[in-house]
C-alpha cells in the first residue's frame, strides 16, 4: 500500500514553523538567566518533533541538521551541559538556519548549504568534535545463514502485563520459517487453585526450519520482550556457511523518505492562508447551524398556505425572534473562528529586542503581558509591522544608553512593556518605555523647520507629541540603520487607521513614553449608531461615542470665523455640522432642533450635529475603496435592512477633515480641540 506523504507536508511545515517560534522564545528566555527545566524540555520537544516529522516526510537534510541540535538540547536537559551564552547563541543561529531550510523546501528553492554547514560545525564543536553518529550503537551481529534455528524462549512470569502476547510472538516466529516444531514446557505450571491467569508459566522450544532466516530476524521478533524473557538462539546446522545474503531489511528508514520530488514544487503557495481552529469552536458552529435549521423549518410552516390569524402571527414573531438570536450567535461563533491570540504578533519581539539591543549597545528588558488577548486574524497580520516599528522606535529613540541612564539616576537596564487588553469592545495594545520621553522642543523646532506648524502657533503637549505622526516628520538626529528613515510614524498611523484603529502617544520627559493603539475586534462587523441627517442615514461606531445630548443654547459659543464650540461641563468641544462637511441638505440647521453626538478618537473629541438618532445595530462593513473609491472621513458603507446604503463615519478621519476645513478659514487655535 502506498500513501502519498505529500498531503501531510503543509501541516508539517505549519507546525514546524510554530515549533521554531517556540524554540526561539524559549531560548531567549534561557538567555535571561531563567534556566528552568520545563523550558528546556519545551525547546527539546519542538526540535524533536521537527526531527521526527522531517525524517518521516522525507526531508533528510532537515532531520540530519536537527539531530545535532537535539543531542545538544538533550545534554542540556539532562544537566550534562551548562547553559552558556555561546550555546544559546548557536542554538538561536540554528533556529534561523532551520527556518530557512524549511522555507526553501516549501518554496522549492535551494537550501543555503553554506550557512547550514557553518552552524553544523558550530554545534559539533560544542558537542566536542566527535558527533555520536546517528546513534545506532548496537553493533550488528553478522548474519549467518543456516538451515534452521533452535529458539529457546522462556518468558518471565510478568510478560503479559505489558500487553505482550506469547501467542503473537510464536505466530510471528512461525511466519519466518518454512516449518516449525514447537515443544511446550509446562513444568512450572502451578496447581489450578494457585494459578493466576495473568501470569505466564510456560516456556517454549522452537525448531525453525528455513534457509533465509537470520539470527537478527529472530531477535527482531523478540525485540520488544528482550528484557522480559530468557532467549537462547542456536543454529541448527552450522555447515554450509556461505556469507552471501545481503542484509538490508533492518534499515528500511533510509529507503522511502529519500525520494525527493523535484517536480511541481514551485507552484505551492508561499503564505499559508489556512488557520487552525479548535474543534470546540467548529462544534459550536455546527450546533448553531442545527438550531438555525430547526427555526427555519418552523418558520417555513407559515409560508405553506395555512390560514393566517392572530395566533399564527404571535408564533411567527416568536420564530423571528429566535431566528435573530441564532443568527447573532452564529455570527459571533464565526467571528470567533477568525480570532487568534496576539501572541502570534508578540512572539517575534523577544528576538527583535535581543538583536537590536546588541546593535545599539543598550540593555533592555522586554515585558509582555496579555499575550492571550484574541483579535481578528487579518488585524493580527497587519498589526505586526506597525508594532515592530514602534518597538524599534522605543528602543532606538526612547531608551537611553546605559551610561546616560545611570547618570540620570535610572537603572542601567531599560524596560519596554508590550501589553494587550480589551477595553470597551476594543483591543488596546500599548508599547511603553521608561526612556527619556519625547523631546518637545526638538519636535517643535523640527515641525517648524518642515513647515508643519507656523511660528505663532501654540500647541498643547499632546498636540506637540501628535506631530510625530505627521507625514515627513522624523526626529532622529542621525539616520540610523533601524529607524529614522522618514518612513516613520505617519506610515504607522496610516496602517493602523486602515485597520479601523487609532494610535496616540503620551510622554513625560525623563520618564518615558506610551504609545497606545486601539483596534476594533474585527474588521467585518461594527456596532453602529444610526443617525439621520436630512434624508440620509449615517453610521457612527458605537465605541467612539461618549454621549449624545440635546443642545442647550446657552452652552453654544461661537469662536472666530464660523467655528462653534459646545461647553459640556468643563470642556469646550468643537461642533461639527455633518451636513456641511458632506454637503447634504439637513432637516434643520438650528442646533436646538437636532442633537449632538459627542465622539472621541485619538484623544480628541468633537460634537457631531445630527438631525436624529435612529437606533443601534450591528452592521456588516463593506469597503468603499474596493467598491468605489476612498473618501476622507468615511471608513466604509453598509447595507441596511431596507436595502438602502448607509455610509460609516471614520471619526479620526472626520476630525482631521474638520481641522482642515477650519484651517482654511482660520488657523487652529491652541486648545481648539479639547484633549
Amino acid at each position: 500500500m502506498s500513501i502519498d506523504l505529500e498531503q501531510f507536508h503543509e501541516t508539517f511545515f505549519e507546525e514546524s514553523f510554530e515549533g521554531l517560534d517556540i524554540m526561539e522564545s524559549g531560548l531567549l528566555e534561557l538567555e535571561q538567566g531563567d534556566v528552568d527545566l520545563e523550558n528546556i524540555n519545551t525547546i527539546f520537544r519542538s526540535a524533536h518533533s521537527i526531527k521526527g516529522g522531517s525524517g518521516t516526510f522525507g526531508f533528510t537534510a532537515v532531520a540530519e541538521f536537527t539531530h545535532d541540535m537535539e543531542t545538544l538540547l538533550d545534554q542540556m536537559r539532562n544537566g550534562e551541559r551548562q547553559v552558556t551564552e555561546a550555546v544559546v547563541e548557536t542554538l538561536l543561529g540554528s533556529v534561523d538556519v532551520l527556518r530557512n531550510m524549511l522555507n526553501a523546501i516549501r518554496d522549492g528553492s535551494d537550501i543555503d548549504v553554506s550557512s547550514v554547514a557553518e552552524v553544523t560545525v558550530a554545534i559539533k564543536a560544542i558537542l566536542g568534535e566527535e558527533s555520536a553518529g546517528t546513534g545506532s550503537t548496537e553493533t550488528q551481529v553478522a548474519a549467518i545463514p543456516a538451515k534452521g534455528w533452535q529458539v529457546n524462549f522462556k518468558p518471565y512470569i510478568d510478560i503479559m502485563k505489558t500487553g505482550n502476547d506469547t501467542v503473537r510472538l510464536l505466530r510471528e516466529l512461525n511466519s519466518l520459517a518454512e516449518s516449525a516444531e514447537v515443544t511446550i514446557n509446562n513444568d512450572s505450571l502451578p496447581l489450578l487453585s494457585e494459578l493466576d491467569p495473568e501470569d505466564c508459566h510456560q516456556s517454549w522450544s522452537i525448531n525453525l526450519i528455513g534457509n533465509d532466516i537470520s539470527e537478527d530476524d529472530i531477535r527482531e521478533v523478540f525485540a520488544w520482550v528482550d528484557d522480559e524473557c530468557e532467549l537462547i538462539i542456536e543454529s541448527l546446522a552450522q555447515d554450509d556457511s556461505s556469507v552471501g545474503s545481503e542484509h538490508s531489511d533492518n534499515d528500511c528508514r533510509e529507503t522511502e523518505p529519500n525520494k525527493r520530488k523535484t517536480d511541481k514544487r514551485s507552484n505551492k503557495p508561499v503564505e499559508s492562508s489556512s488557520i487552525r481552529v479548535n474543534i470546540s469552536k467548529v462544534d459550536e458552529l455546527i450546533n448553531m447551524v442545527g438550531e438555525l435549521v430547526i427555526t427555519q423549518s418552523m418558520l417555513s410552516r407559515f409560508g405553506e398556505g395555512e390560514e393566517f390569524n392572530a395566533s399564527t402571527i404571535e408564533k411567527l414573531k416568536d420564530g423571528l425572534a429566535q431566528l435573530e438570536g441564532h443568527t447573532r450567535e452564529l455570527q459571533e461563533s464565526v467571528m470567533r473562528i477568525r480570532m487568534m491570540p496576539i501572541s502570534f504578533a508578540f512572539q517575534r519581539f523577544p528576538r527583535l529586542v535581543h538583536d537590536l539591543s546588541t546593535t545599539f549597545d543598550k540593555k533592555i528588558e522586554l515585558v509582555m503581558t496579555g499575550e492571550s488577548t484574541e483579535l481578528d486574524k487579518t488585524v493580527l497580520e497587519k498589526i505586526g509591522d506597525p508594532l515592530v516599528h514602534l518597538v524599534r522606535n522605543s528602543l532606538d529613540h526612547g531608551i537611553e544608553s546605559p551610561q546616560v541612564r545611570i547618570e540620570s539616576g535610572k537603572s542601567e537596564t531599560g524596560v519596554i512593556e508590550l501589553s494587550a487588553f480589551h477595553q470597551g469592545g476594543n483591543i488596546v495594545i500599548q508599547i511603553k518605555d521608561d526612556g527619556a520621553g519625547l523631546n518637545k522642543d526638538r519636535i517643535i523646532t523640527k515641525a517648524k523647520e518642515k513647515g508643519l506648524v507656523t511660528k505663532e502657533e501654540h500647541l498643547s503637549d499632546d498636540q506637540i507629541y501628535d506631530l510625530i505622526f505627521r507625514p515627513g516628520f522624523s526626529t532622529a538626529d542621525v539616520v540610523s540603520d533601524v529607524s529614522g528613515r522618514g518612513v516613520g510614524m505617519d506610515v504607522v498611523r496610516r496602517n493602523i487607521r486602515e485597520l479601523g484603529g487609532a494610535v496616540e502617544v503620551k510622554s513625560t520627559a525623563g520618564e518615558g513614553s506610551v504609545f497606545t493603539i486601539r483596534l476594533p475586534l474585527t474588521l467585518a462587523i461594527l456596532d453602529g449608531q444610526l443617525v439621520g441627517i436630512g434624508n440620509e442615514t449615517y453610521i457612527l461606531p458605537v465605541i467612539s461615542i461618549i454621549e449624545s445630548l440635546q443642545v442647550k443654547t446657552e452652552n453654544i459659543n461661537a469662536v472666530a470665523g464660523n467655528s462653534e464650540v459646545y461647553r459640556l461641563r468643563d470642556e469646550y468641544i468643537p461642533i461639527v455640522r455633518l451636513y456641511q462637511i458632506f454637503g447634504i441638505k439637513p432637516i434643520s440647521t438650528e442646533l436646538e432642533s437636532g442633537l449632538l453626538v459627542v465622539v472621541e478618537a485619538e484623544g480628541k473629541k468633537i460634537a457631531i450635529y445630527v438631525d436624529d438618532l435612529l437606533g443601534q445595530q450591528q452592521v456588516v462593513i463593506k469597503s468603499l475603496e474596493t467598491n468605489f473609491k476612498k473618501i476622507e472621513g468615511l471608513s466604509g458603507a453598509t447595507i441596511l435592512g431596507d436595502g438602502t446604503v448607509a455610509l460609516i463615519i471614520d471619526i479620526a478621519g472626520l476630525i482631521e477633515l474638520y481641522q482642515k476645513d477650519m484651517a482654511n478659514v482660520v488657523p487652529i487655535k491652541g486648545g481648539g480641540l479639547a484633549a
Binding site: 500513501i3 508539517f12 507546525e15 527539546f44 524533536h48 518533533s49 525524517g55 539531530h67
Partner: protein, 120 residues
C-alpha cells in the same frame, strides 16, 4: 474493526498515522497529549494505543504507566513512537508497561505491518 488511539503532539504525525490506519480500515481516535489520551481511553475502550513519547502536559511514558494501571487496559497493546537514539526511553517505556515501540522515522507501510502484527 479494531479501535486504535493515536497520541502525538505533532499534528502532521497524527494526520499521517490516522490516515494510514483509517485507510487500512481501523477506527482511529486522536489525542494531542497524554492527558487528553488518558481521558479518551477511560471513556472508551481501545484495542491498541500508539503514543509519542515527548509531549507537553503529559508525556507518553507517564500516560502508558497510568493507563496500564486501569483494569480495562491490563493487556491492551501499547506502542511507543520513539527515535532510535532514545535507548533509555525504550527501557523506561517498558518499565512503565509499554508493549513495544515503533522506531521513528517510519513510513506508513512499516506502521501498518507493526499494527497488523500486534492486532493479529
Amino acid at each position: 474493526m479494531a479501535r486504535i488511539l493515536a497520541v502525538d503532539d505533532s499534528a502532521s504525525m497524527r494526520q499521517m498515522v490516522t490516515f494510514t490506519l483509517k485507510g487500512a480500515g481501523y477506527q482511529v481516535t486522536e489525542a494531542a497529549d497524554g492527558q487528553e489520551a488518558l481521558t479518551k481511553a477511560k471513556s472508551q475502550q481501545f484495542d491498541l494505543i500508539i503514543t509519542d513519547v515527548n509531549m507537553p502536559v503529559m508525556d507518553g511514558i507517564t500516560f502508558i504507566k497510568n493507563l496500564r494501571g486501569e483494569a480495562n487496559y491490563k493487556f491492551t497493546p501499547m506502542l511507543m513512537l520513539t527515535t532510535e537514539s532514545a535507548g533509555d526511553k525504550k527501557a523506561q517505556g517498558k518499565a512503565a508497561g509499554a508493549t513495544g515501540w515503533i522506531v521513528k522515522p517510519f513510513n506508513p507501510d512499516q506502521l501498518l505491518n507493526t499494527v497488523k502484527k500486534v492486532l493479529g
